[in-house]
Amino acid sequence: MEDVLRIGGQELTSRLFLGTGKFSPNSLIPEAVRSSGAQVITVALRRVDQGSEEENIASFVPGDCIMMPNTSGARNAGEAVRIARLARAAGYGNWVKIEVITDNRYLLPDNFETIKATEILAAEGFVVLPYMSPDLVAAKKLVEAGAAAVMPLGAPIGSNRGLKTRELVRILIEEIQLPVIVDAGIGRPSEASEAMEMGAAAVLVNTAVATAGDPVAMARAFGLAVEAGRTAYLAGLGATRQYASASSPLTGFLSD
């Protein structure tokens, strides 16, 4: 049976979401998207730098992917709402990743403002995927606000430190009825796999792929890892034990 993730009326067969930041060159993005199998691709919106020639990132995102602008740079709900509305009005679809950050050192999200922005944008018909600190109360409020999924961080953005928030993410997966997508901090395919084994609906990865020695190969590794982790979750992991439990029968030895 096909394992499908449904978000905002869309059916996704890939549970890896891929960011487009930090690729050098950007021309690697289409190859990375293809080799990973990712179907949801994040982008950002910025003021044009008049002094430099910038590439159109949208041209690197394959047409059959869902482009999800984020609201990075927003410091409160109002700014996030403004960015989301601009991106949608400009024709970039109705998916949005809410990112509201005022903490410059750890780039931790402001859950309170994120809830406010989610409420406004969900009411306007956006498919809202909020990036959040993995707090159960905030996640419940995001559900009430109309989020399409919740995206708790694994570790600070771009840190490649892995699933430092493991226990809190586990609680969200257990208690929240929406897809839980681990976003930020995942640095290795094995960590993506672990998140999926825990029951995460998907993971969002950017830095770990874009800054790898071979981003296209790493994108493939993440795609495989997410699939392996998901398959393991669906298969049901065996119980862990403190002491050994023989795999082979303990009878019929030659010495018996």
Binding site: I29, G158, T207
Partner: protein
């Protein structure tokens, strides 16, 4: 004439349009999003909007992001 362009003051010739400004600043018009006084303006309307003193203009573009 003074306007606020991408958050900074900029002095422009009188009677310039949004399209004229984009051309003056040598910005590739194909990939940008223009917000004029907090409203998104489609590219068809850029030649029709004459900038006025203290207008606020944001010229934005999608970039790589996570």
């Amino acid at each position: 004439m003074k306007i606020i362009l991408n958050g900074k003051e900029d002095i422009l010739p009188e009677g310039i349009t949004v399209a004229g400004l984009i051309s003056l600043k040598k910005i590739n018009p194909d990939t940008i999003i223009v917000e004029y006084n907090y409203e998104l303006v489609k590219s068809e309307l850029w030649p029709d909007i004459f900038l006025k003193e203290n207008d606020r203009l944001e010229i934005l573009r999608l970039v790589g992001g996570g």
